[in-house]
């Protein structure tokens, strides 16, 4: 996605996903949403990081090849998984005890909109139909840390970081970090802090495509093209 105001190419989905993984901690239990977040798995090299899926598994690391499918081993996105020795299985009650009980350290998921107060809308665009909540409300309301990965703007170039979400909410005041195709943001105390700019981008060009006032300080990082 490139618009005439863009000073440089925006990051692609894999780049966004790769950046998100650098914030994951040792010995943590992680839930990855569908879309960009699911691309994170391939960049996680720390064997102490365990991936959790709502349907009752953690410890998986890759999809099964088509000739090696076991329909009893799937992730929450409906993708069949390869077995590895870290994997364990459990039922949905226990899976959501992990989520609701605060045992998931970080959830990375996509969003239609995120507000500066950390509200997230990611389950329905009303004019498109019924909508699907799945595990998103449980994850957003109960995970210790929420990282949103998304494109910075819609196809119509509207800011997805907003003062107040227009779409129905998934949860309130829960997002800690937003990683978009132009930068890395932290949400803190109703402020949008720009921490890193994508290669070729700077706070002023990012502000131009963002509906919320961006704050930043002298420690702001300008990503190098070789790092992404």
């Amino acid at each position: 996605m490139k618009f005439h105001l863009d000073p440089a190419p925006r990051l692609n989905k894999n780049q966004i996903a790769k950046i998100a993984t650098k914030f994951l901690k040792n010995n943590s239990l992680i839930n990855l949403g569908i879309g960009i977040p699911s691309l994170c798995a391939q960049f996680i090299k720390d064997p102490t990081i365990l991936l959790h899926a709502e349907n009752g598994v953690y410890g998986f690391n890759k999809f099964a090849s088509e000739e090696n499918i076991n329909t009893d081993i799937m992730d929450a996105g409906g993708n069949f998984l390869d077995m590895n020795k870290n994997m364990v299985f459990f039922d949905s009650v226990e899976s959501f005890n992990l989520i609701r009980g605060g045992h998931i350290d970080t959830t990375i998921l996509g969003a239609f909109q995120v507000s500066k107060s950390g509200d997230i809308a990611n389950w329905i665009i009303p004019k498109r139909g019924i909508g699907s909540i799945g595990g998103a409300m449980d994850l957003c309301a109960n995970t210790k840390e929420i990282i949103v990965t998304m494109e910075h703007t819609t196809k119509k170039n509207e800011s997805k970081i907003v003062d107040k979400c227009v779409f129905p909410l998934t949860a309130v005041s829960c997002v800690n970090k937003i990683i978009t195709d132009v930068g890395i943001f932290e949400l803190d105390n109703n402020s949008l802090l720009l921490k890193e700019c994508a290669p070729g981008w700077d706070p002023i060009t990012i502000q131009k495509i963002t509906d919320v006032t961006i704050e930043y300080d002298e420690k702001i990082i300008f990503m190098d093209i070789d790092d992404v």
């Binding site: 499918i69 019924i130 595990g135 949860a171 309130v172």
Partner: protein, 243 residues
């Protein structure tokens, strides 16, 4: 117990499910944990007005969700296609990409009250609560969202929670890997999902399994669903057309 719980056919096992019954469908969504043959048998019944309770509700037929490539996905949409259900309680009724429309979406367009969406963790805990004799519990899931509407709210400390009620059903159709003749079940991998909780929350639980073994053949330390919750067992034929 002998083998009084064992039924010879899927048709026979679902024969007494009447119009306007509530029916839980086990698994998560996708082919693995889905009681596909019991669903097919039920879909042939000449009844109407079923309430279906299941998690990922009807997206496999249109998107292939959770089914191997080159298979013919069947999902809970079958009850709406056949016109025998008029209500579904689920967490994920539509695919991320909206076309083509599923049978459930088509029904919903004409009957907006026919689909009740519940957050997945709340849905499984409502079902678990019904089986555990807990009429209601508090959860922070859904606070500040559309889910909060008309729910009782309570603060514990400074945090806000919603009151959620138990959800039971007349029947549960589930799939497991193996049953013993007492009805003790074991599941494989992610095919467990909603099934153990549903078995505790319904008046009659019917299970389709790949294998039936003698009592005592399963490790008593590793029973995933206790036999007291299982009323009927039907064995799947090897190598039929569904995974």
């Amino acid at each position: 117990m002998g083998n009084q719980k064992i039924y010879k056919s899927f048709d026979e096992a679902v024969m007494d499910i009447r119009s306007h019954s509530s029916v839980m469908i086990g698994g998560f969504g996708g082919s693995g944990g889905q009681p596909t043959r019991l669903m097919l048998a039920l879909s042939k019944r000449d009844i109407k007005g079923l309430t279906i309770i299941g998690n990922v509700a009807g997206i496999s037929e249109t998107t292939g969700y959770g089914w191997p490539k080159n298979s013919k996905p069947i999902d809970q949409g079958i009850f709406f296609k056949k016109g025998i259900a008029n209500k579904i309680i689920c967490s994920f009724p539509v695919p991320a990409s909206q076309n083509p429309k599923s049978h459930i979406e088509k029904f919903w367009l004409e009957n907006k009250d026919s689909v009740e969406i519940v957050p997945q963790g709340t849905l499984i805990e409502k079902i678990r609560s019904a089986g555990a004799g807990i009429p209601a519990f508090y959860t922070s899931t859904g606070v500040g969202t559309i889910i909060e509407k008309q729910k009782e709210i309570k603060f514990f400390g400074k945090k806000k929670y919603l009151l959620e009620h138990a959800l039971s059903a007349d029947f549960a159709l589930i799939r497991a890997n193996v049953a013993d003749e007492n009805g003790n079940l074991q599941f494989l991998g992610t095919s467990r999902a909603f099934s153990p909780a549903m078995a505790t929350a319904s008046k009659i639980t019917i299970v389709e399994v790949d294998e039936i073994v003698k009592v005592g053949d399963l490790d008593p330390n590793n029973i995933h669903t206790l036999g007291v919750h299982i009323n009927r067992i039907v064995k799947r034929r090897k190598n039929d057309m569904y995974p």
